[in-house]
């Protein structure tokens, strides 16, 4: 028999996309604003998030999920800022997916939250393919990394909404060329919002809080 060609035309990660869409609807109904953070390992996601949550915890109800291959260390660190934190240990997987997020939310009442932060596994490649149902995805690049990193990892910058340059307090010591970094980001993703922060000195943190709060206000207004 001659072989027959059967059209499928389906997204390979359809299952994840469907689940992510359901999560997004669930978050919206519950009125919780969900922001995820991706970066390479060691760019300061956890420190940044600890400081961000610390600044927001008094005024908002916050929870966080944090992904790593192993250990509960990051969850323990984030709990210093706010108690409702769960670690997702992925074992060997190099990224979070919508299923892991859904499972980690088990037992939490989303209606009682204003913000949910998701810290992805430190990886600039794989998380880009997996929608987690978040409202905003932030990609972090630290001042101690190469200014051309966005050019090397364009996909993640293309799937994120905001770029954040962290560890700005180390910029001088690392001879970090801020303008070159900004150019790299904008070459890959024209018009992308860029925020420069230092979790250590607090520079840029107020702007970040305002951005995140603005996101929730806009979502509630339905835009």
């Amino acid at each position: 028999m001659t072989p027959r060609l059967i059209e499928v035309r389906a997204n390979i990660l359809k299952e994840n996309d469907v689940l992510a869409r359901q999560l997004r609807q669930r978050f919206k109904r519950a009125g919780v604003c969900v922001v995820s953070f991706v970066s390479s390992p060691g760019s300061g996601k956890t420190t940044f998030l600890e400081k961000l949550m610390g600044r927001m915890a008094a005024r908002h109800r916050i929870a966080a999920l944090v992904g790593d291959l192993a250990t509960e260390n990051d969850a323990a660190r984030l709990r210093r800022a706010c108690p409702q934190v769960r670690q997702i240990t992925t074992g060997t997987a190099c990224h979070l997916d919508a299923k892991m997020v859904a499972a980690a939310l088990e037992g939490w009442v989303l209606e009682e939250l204003d913000y949910l932060f998701i810290e992805n596994v430190g990886n600039l490649v794989c998380p880009s393919s997996y929608d987690l149902g978040e409202q905003m995805r932030v990609v972090l690049l630290s001042a101690t990394e190469g200014e051309d990193k966005p050019l090397k990892y364009p996909t993640i910058f293309n799937t994120a909404d905001v770029a954040m340059i962290t560890k700005m307090d180390l910029a001088v010591a690392a001879e970090f060329d801020l303008e070159a970094a900004r150019r790299s980001i904008l070459t890959v993703r024209p018009g992308m919002r860029i925020v420069e922060v230092s979790a250590k000195t607090g520079a840029g943190m107020a702007e970040t809080v305002a951005m995140v709060e603005g996101l929730r206000v806009r979502a509630q207004a339905g835009c």
């Binding site: 060609l5 299952e15 794989c126 018009g191």
Partner: protein
Amino acid sequence: MHELSIALSMMEQIEQESAKHRGTVRAVQVRIGALAGVDCDALRFAWEIARAGTPFAETELEIDQVPLMVRCPQCGETREAEMFAIACPRCVTPEQEILMGQELELRSMEMET
């Protein structure tokens, strides 16, 4: 890196789709866009591992690599772009509309009875 997860998702999808038809799956055709974040060589390698010991152990993976195609909203030019330099070279407009290049699609299956 995450190509094995993608190969396993593909496998599940092929399992579901092929169950609707008679015969064995000789080959599958997938479309991978330049912006999909998937390395085609790594995916081929992952496919070898994923298919071993399954009913699809002989199923060939055929990859159609889709270039990044963009359209300039300003001057209307449609062209293939490098993913690390997306701005329009003609009128320097930075934001471009992505026409294709984000595909991660199981396009078709070739079945034999």
